[in-house]
């Protein structure tokens, strides 16, 4: 699904990420962890083509991201559901339309019951008509997850999906992601919530990647 070959990245200063090699196999479940500022968000941006590797090669769905045209990048993103760390929405549209937006922009039919079911699943059904600025941080994160999966993507990338929610809610979100993984989706979650990782490992075969000293390490069973 996603393959890093000797990838490096820098924002113009010193190198932030170096020599990263990794393969996310279909149906796998990964956590990405590391201290704040280590480059987790940067890593995810490389996965969906918001950033291009300064060295090495990123393959997504067997295609080198660097060689994709802008339209091909758009099509590639329709197959990757991303929960961004900052969860941006279109503030002038109600939540239901925001969640359905990936369908809308790709010209697919939007069925209200699908959107409703999905909102129900993330526990936001009663807020369908509200506008994003009226939502709490946790509600935004759940909405972002709903938007990320509405297209039925093959891969789900979530950047700190439990950053703004309490323990119970983080457990629920984790359950949602585990459920998606059981449905065959490839999952990558960036987080520094070690409890969340431990909890997940009790339920799925999750592997933990850690960014340390600009390099990617596979964490052992210490977690």
């Amino acid at each position: 699904m996603i393959e890093f070959q000797n990838v490096a990245y820098n924002y113009g200063g010193g190198e932030l990420l170096s020599e990263m090699t990794l393969t996310l196999a279909p149906g796998s479940f990964h956590f990405l962890t590391g201290p704040s500022g280590a480059g987790k968000t940067t890593f995810l941006k490389l996965c969906y083509g918001e950033l291009l590797a300064t060295a090495g090669r990123v393959n997504v769905f067997e295609a080198d991201v660097k060689t994709l045209s802008r339209d091909e990048v758009a099509r590639m993103r329709r197959r990757i559901g991303v929960v961004h760390q900052d969860c941006q929405f279109l503030d002038h549209l109600p939540l239901a339309e925001n969640v359905a937006l990936p369908l809308t922009v790709s010209g697919r039919a939007v069925t209200d019951t699908d959107v409703e079911d999905l909102l129900n699943w993330v526990g936001l059904k009663s807020l369908a008509g509200h506008r994003p600025p009226e939502l709490s941080g946790g509600e935004r994160q759940r909405a972002a997850l709903a938007r990320a999966i509405i297209m039925g993507p093959d891969v789900i990338l979530a950047d700190e999906p439990t950053g703004n929610v309490d323990w119970d809610m983080s457990q629920r979100l984790l359950q949602l992601l585990i459920e998606l993984n059981r449905m065959g989706k490839t999952i990558l979650i960036a987080t520094h919530d070690l409890n969340l990782i431990r909890n997940a490992k009790a339920q799925v075969a999750a592997r933990v990647l850690r960014i340390r000293n600009r390099r990617l390490h596979l964490a052992g069973s210490d977690l």
């Binding site: 969906y48 758009a74 549209l93 990936p102 922009v105 938007r147």
Partner: protein
């Protein structure tokens, strides 16, 4: 992307971008003002074109030489003048009018019973010019030296600079229309850039969830094209109305009173709104794609 789809379908593409409020309204207003001005530029251009044509037609490629001489010299002077004319470059032909022809010319003024032989009627010579015309001043000097009774009458010539002025005026009208078109394009580009900048966050979100550039561009293109079209329809309508109610001119009226559209000329201003829409379409699309290419 075709214009009809832009206007009819895909309202949703318009909805994903929040209303651009004052920017869009100003676009409509400016397009309307430009269209209003374009109607006048067009009217000016068409009217001066008609004027140039009319004057050019009146400017027959001919002149007349009138010889008044004592009866004894008439013959020799006429021959001298014809000889001079045959040697003058730019003269295609020259022929002296017969007594009969002159009589015919004078009949309307003096009635049929004119005893032409007894009156000192000047001899008239009709001169046909070639396209370039002849040097009137040079000819006049030779005539006064060699046939003192001959007078060159080229009164139609004074119109030549006027025809040139009218043609220049038509050109200025067309240049004005081109400038108005360019100014409209520039203004809409600025407005579109402002709208794109104001919606940078929206565009970023749309890109990240997999919207193609053409989809995002369409939302802006649709908006500005429709605004420009609406404004231009109103502006053109008002401009045409203003010209229609302009005080009617007598046929012999001066230039200003001739300003307006004649017959099928009224169809020309109807091209202004589609032109405004096309300009807005192209300008917004260009601005949108340039902005989008700068994003990931």
């Amino acid at each position: 992307m075709k214009l009809p789809k832009l206007i009819t379908g895909d309202m949703q593409a318009g909805r994903v971008v929040p209303p651009t409020g004052v920017i869009a309204r100003l676009t409509g207003f400016t397009a309307g003002a430009m269209a209003f001005l374009a109607v006048f530029a067009l009217a000016l251009s068409l009217a001066s074109g008609r004027l140039a044509d009319r004057w050019a037609a009146a400017l027959a490629d001919s002149a007349t030489i009138r010889i008044s001489a004592p009866p004894g010299q008439m013959e020799t002077q006429t021959r001298a003048v014809l000889k001079i004319l045959s040697e003058t470059p730019g003269v295609a032909s020259a022929n002296a009018l017969t007594k009969e022809a002159e009589k015919k010319l004078l009949t309307p003024w003096f009635g049929p019973g004119l005893p032409l032989g007894e009156l000192p009627i000047p001899q008239l010579i009709d001169v046909q010019e070639t396209g370039k015309g002849f040097d009137a001043e040079g000819l006049r000097q030779r005539l006064s030296a060699e046939a003192p009774g001959a007078v060159l009458d080229d009164h139609a010539r004074w119109r030549r600079p006027l025809v040139r002025a009218a043609e220049r005026l038509r050109l200025l009208g067309l240049i004005s229309i081109a400038l108005l078109t360019g100014a409209t394009a520039a203004m809409i580009t600025l407005a579109a850039n402002a709208a794109l900048a104001a919606n940078a966050q929206v565009i970023r979100v749309l890109r990240l969830i997999g919207a193609r550039d053409s989809y995002i561009a369409r939302a802006f293109v649709r908006r500005f094209t429709l605004r420009a079209l609406g404004g231009a329809v109103a502006g053109t309508g008002l401009g045409m109305l203003a010209i229609a109610v302009m005080p009617a001119a007598a046929p012999e009226g001066g230039f200003l009173t001739g300003l307006g559209f004649a017959g099928i000329g009224w169809l020309w201003p109807l091209l202004i709104p589609p032109l405004a829409a096309i300009v807005a379409f192209a300008a917004t699309r260009f601005a949108a794609f340039r902005t989008l290419r700068g994003l990931s």
